[in-house]
Amino acid sequence: MIRFENVSKRYDNGFDALSHINFFVEPGEMLFLTGHSGAGKSTLMKLIMQMERPSNGQITVDGQDLGRMPSSQIPYYRRNIGVVFQNHQLLFDRSVFDNVALPLQIAGLSHYEIGRRVRAALDKVSLLEKERLNPIVLSGGEQQRVGIARAVVNKPSMLLADEPTGNLDPELSEEIMTLFRQFNEVGVTIMIASHDVELLKRMNKRILGLVEGKLVHDGVLW
């Protein structure tokens, strides 16, 4: 699903965010990405999202060589990846429903289909009764669930989450992780960046450990 071959990323200011990264993620896998802040977790996610381009090496996602993808294709590529952010990135000028509907509107689904899928996604994260509210009135955990609903509403084959539980207490984190696990069970490839060691221990999944831009660990807990 995701293949990194000797991937390096050096920013314009000379900072080496990633160097010589190699790994492979199977379709349908669920794995974690860990490391201190500045270790390169976000950069790695951004490379997969095509928000950054690697300085070196080759990234293949779902059989597509990202280096050969014309930039006009990037929006269509992104529609197949759901993203969840630590700060939710919700839009507070519209309702919960409209926030979740955004990817579907962009993809050009019919009105009926949008309503059906948005309600299904909101039902999945148990927020169906709050679809008319503005997300600003929701709690942090609820906002994160809206973010997850938006990430999965387009039925992506892959889900990326950058510190999805960063601001949440353990109980809410557990709730979010349960959601991710359920999505993984229906075949979605899931990659979660987190520095929450307790969480990583509990989940007991494959972990990619980054230290100063180098991949130092690949496997279950060390």
């Binding site: 699903m1 293949r3 071959e5 190699n22 790994f23 492979f24 199977e26 379709p27 349908g28 896998e29 669920m30 794995l31 951004k46 999202m49 928000m51 950054e52 006009s72 929006p75 269509y76 590529y77 992104r78 529609r79 197949n80 993203v83 990135q89 839009l91 000028d93 955004l102 990817p103 509107q105 962009i106 993809a107 050009g108 689904l109 019919s110 009105h111 289909e113 899928r117 299904a120 996604a121 039902d123 999945k124 938006r150 999965v152 509403v153 387009n154 039925k155 992506p156 084959s157 696990r181 999505f183 069970e185 229906v186 075949g187 979605v188 999944k205 494959r206 690949d218 496997g219 279950v220």
Partner: protein, 358 residues
């Protein structure tokens, strides 16, 4: 956990060439609503959206962008009105000048028909002498037609047209001279030919003065060409001003909606999808400004045309001030709208495309 799922996660230290394992793994799409497992929507998810649906959605996004951007403008009425007024003024000034020149030109054209030479005779010239001169002149090759207007005819005409009959009646003697109205042949219309004609006419001792009406019309025409060029130059400069105003306004609204743009781009919105509402905003700014300019022009027209009518009445003229007309008005609004669209497009190209998720 379901047992169906192959235990791919147990092989932790596999080399990166584990593709063959991946091949045997059949991925199932995410189905958030588990009651819809039998939905035919399974499979290659994104590409299954019907073309008709895509087209409908494209049209729908156009109309929602158009309506939404208009509502946004109306949500901040004072701010929008200021921008509209600026555009309206920038549009109305050249349009008003254009209308003014069009009227002058219309006036000039009605004079152009009188491309005649007026030959004023000395007062002592008798009608018989004048008639003889007329006959002589008519035979000249460079003259098409000569008409003699006797002092008596002239005074009758003047009385009828000027409305000053009583004043004329009170005069002791007719102050008007006899006049020969000479129409030159058109092919001899060059300046040199006209001058030589003028000189040969004035050489006659019975002639008091010769007036070339055409020359005056020609000078007016040249002035009008100059004036028109200035109107177009001014119009161009003001159009540039409109472009800058709208471009800057759109740039600000792009900055205001930066977060939204980033999210839309992250979930797969194309550049044109993101740009659409802003392009419509520019179009609305332009069209709104154009319509407001039309109102300004209309008010000015009403204000000025009653005065013009009075003046024309005093001059016994049936001259009427010509407005832009329906098509002219529509063209003006359309032109303003296109300028707005262009301004927005420039802002979008310069700023919107640069906003990329980081």
């Amino acid at each position: 956990m379901k047992s169906k799922r192959p235990s791919v996660t147990q092989n932790r230290t596999r080399p990166s060439t584990g593709a063959s394992r991946g091949a045997s793994f059949t991925r199932r799409p995410l189905e958030p609503d588990s009651s819809r497992q039998t939905s035919p929507q399974k499979g290659a998810i994104q590409t299954k959206i019907r073309f008709a649906d895509r087209f409908d959605a494209y049209v729908a996004h156009h109309s929602t962008s158009a309506i939404d951007s208009l509502l946004r403008l109306l949500a901040t009425p004072f701010q929008s009105l200021m921008t509209w007024l600026v555009i309206a003024i920038a549009v109305a000034i050249p349009a008003a000048l254009y209308v003014g020149f069009a009227n002058l030109q219309q006036l000039g054209e009605s004079w152009e028909g009188s491309s005649q030479v007026s030959v004023f005779l000395r007062p002592e010239t008798s009608d018989a002498k004048a008639e003889e001169m007329r006959a002589n002149l008519s035979r000249r090759a460079d003259i098409a037609k000569v008409v003699y207007v006797s002092p008596a005819q002239a005074i009758t005409e003047f009385k009828a047209q000027s409305g000053l009959g009583e004043v004329v009646d009170s005069l002791e003697k007719n102050p008007l001279p006899g006049t020969l109205l000479v129409t030159p042949r058109l092919e001899n219309g060059s300046d040199a030919a006209m001058t030589s004609l003028e000189q040969s006419l004035i050489a006659d001792p019975a002639v008091a003065d010769v007036r070339l009406d055409l020359q005056w019309v020609k000078r007016l025409q040249q002035l009008m060409i100059l004036g028109k060029k200035m109107v177009f130059g001014l119009g161009g400069l003001l159009a540039l001003g409109v472009l800058l105003v709208i471009g800057n306004t759109i740039r600000l609204s792009i900055e205001n909606r930066r977060d939204e743009i980033l999210v839309v781009k992250l979930v797969g919105g194309t550049d044109s999808y993101v740009a659409r509402p802003f392009l419509y905003t520019g179009l609305w700014y332009g069209i709104g400004g154009g319509l407001l300019a039309l109102v300004v022009l209309g008010l000015g027209f009403i204000w000025i045309s009653s005065t013009i009518e009075q003046i024309a009445m005093l001059y016994q003229s049936n001259f009427r001030l010509q407005g832009l007309g329906f098509f002219g008005s529509m063209q003006m609004v359309l032109l303003a709208g296109l300028t707005g669209l262009l301004g927005a497009w420039i802002a979008v190209v310069r700023h919107l495309i640069q906003i990329q998720p980081r």
